[in-house]
Structure formats: structure tokens, C-alpha cells
Symmetry: C2
Subunit: 135 residues, 2 copies
DNA sequence: GTCAATGCAAATCCTTTGCATTCGG
DNA sequence: CCGAATGCAAAGGATTTGCATTGAC
């Protein structure tokens, strides 16, 4: 649980990440950080974000458009919308049961899960329905 | 469903992929292919594998160690073992119910799912148990 | 004062692209 | 033949690394 030395760069990176709810890519994050102080180096952002992932303070999400980061460490799923590209969070109260069932059935231990669905989010689906009812 | 022109390179790539049950990376695949005929270019492998993914003939799995490919297109989960690094398949008869539940609850449409667990596979877990009972 | 952390630039890794050439239909 | 597919090499993009310097403790 060593947090290392407390530099303002590290703090800025953590703060920005916590404020960002939209599952940013590293370059999203880097842009936001540079807007606040452009003296922060890219390598510093990479190094700190990687360390945060290792320490399990944040989660790395692998999408088709590259890695994204999520500071919500509760277990949940993600949906990557094929229309608008946004990533939305899905919480599932039966998640734990799914895990237990798989662990039992396969005699394995599941320590972490990366669950990414792709499809169409509620907003885009709603928009689609309206459009098709007009035409 | 256009399969395009039937070159021996394309056929070799498809055959190798189908024979490979171990979720190979592109470079695993490339090595195997070059062992058969080293005149196949890397770009050809990339181009063909990408096309197969687009055509949904094979699946792309995103792991921490990069992209891997799976020719089993039935819906299933994967477990990446933190000990041995292997990726094993998990099939779940309740998968469809999970999808339906999420679709209903969030008013979304799920078209594809990429589900990757990490943890410890049955072999490594079994080995661990034996070791700890000795010590 | 030490040494972890930083900034910069170069290096590395993975993947895609441009283009001349080949070869399947 | 024609043009899709290939092989090569070069380009591209994302991430990491080497190293001198800075600054947290």
C-alpha cells in the first residue's frame, strides 16, 4: 500500500481521473491534464496510470478503440455503444452468483472480471425507435 | 458472405487458426504459419485475420497480453490464468438469461460480448492445494 | 543529501498502409 | 486479362524506456 512520494503531478492525475466519469482513454486524460498544466509529461501520465492499475485503484477497460480507464472499482459490466461510441455502466445484482457458479463448475478461482458488451445504448435505441416510427 | 479469392495463403491461415485451440496471439499464429511456409508475409496474416473477425468467422479476445483469437464462435467466457498464463474456455447455460436481464433492465441491445475473467485455472489451483497441504 | 519521480526524446512494439507484383477466376 | 490478394518495406500510433535533472522527504 505504498503510495510513494507525493508529487503534484501524481495528485493532478488522480484528481482528474476521479473527476472523469466517462471512461477516458489515456490521451483523453492527458489532454485534460495538459489543459490544467502543460508541464506534465506524457510518460508521467502513463507511469502513474499504470501504477494505479497495478495497485487496483482504478480499472483498465479494453475496448476496440483501445484502453480506457474507470475509477469505479465496484464490479460491473460495460456496454460500448456501436452507434454513439459511449461506454455505459451496467450493474447486476446477480453478478456474484454468476461468479460462484462458474467457480464451482470449473473448479477455478475468479479474481477479476473484465466484461464488455457491445451493442446499442438506451439513448441510441430510443432514438432509433422514434425514427423508424416516423418513416 | 463473399469469401474472395481462394489463395493458398488464406487457406493456410484459416487452417492454422482452426487447428490452434489455444487462443493464439497474432505472432503465435504467424510463427506457426511461417514454420509451414516462410514466404507468407506478416501483412497477409494481419489482413486475413482482421477480415475473419469482421466477418465474424473468428473472435478477437482482448487480454492484458494483447489480442488473441478464438475460432469457437459460440458464446462463452474466458479465464486468463494468473499463474500459467493460459486461457481456458468457460461455457454457461445461463448466459442468455444474463443478457436478457441486462437488456431489459437497461433498455439496451447487446449484440456481442467480450467476457474475460482473470484468476487461477483448475490445474494451477489443484497444484496450489497439493503444495500447501505438504508444507 | 538521497533517491524516487519527472520530462524529454528516443526506442520499441504492434499494426496498418502504399505500392509494385503476382496469380486466381 | 483484370483486379483482388500478396510481400515487402516504410509509416503510423500507442506505450515504454534511458537518462539527466528535479524536488519530496
Amino acid at each position: 500500500m505504498d503510495i510513494g512520494r507525493n508529487t503534484w503531478q501524481k495528485q493532478l492525475i488522480i484528481d482528474t481521473l476521479k473527476r472523469e466519469k466517462n471512461h477516458p482513454t489515456i490521451s483523453d486524460l492527458y489532454d485534460k491534464i495538459k489543459a490544467v498544466d502543460d508541464k506534465v509529461g506524457q510518460a508521467t501520465v502513463y507511469r502513474n496510470v499504470n501504477k494505479l492499475v497495478e495497485e487496483k485503484k482504478i480499472k483498465r477497460i479494453m475496448t476496440d478503440s483501445g484502453f480506457r480507464y474507470d475509477c469505479d472499482c465496484n464490479d460491473h459490466y460495460h456496454l460500448e455503444c456501436n452507434k454513439c461510441g459511449n461506454i455505459i455502466d451496467l450493474y447486476d445484482e446477480k453478478y456474484i452468483r454468476l461468479i460462484r457458479r462458474l467457480e464451482d463448475e470449473y473448479s477455478i478461482k475468479i479474481e477479476e472480471s473484465k466484461i464488455l458488451f457491445s451493442g446499442i445504448c438506451d439513448k441510441c435505441l430510443n432514438y432509433e425507435r422514434k425514427s423508424s416510427s416516423i418513416n
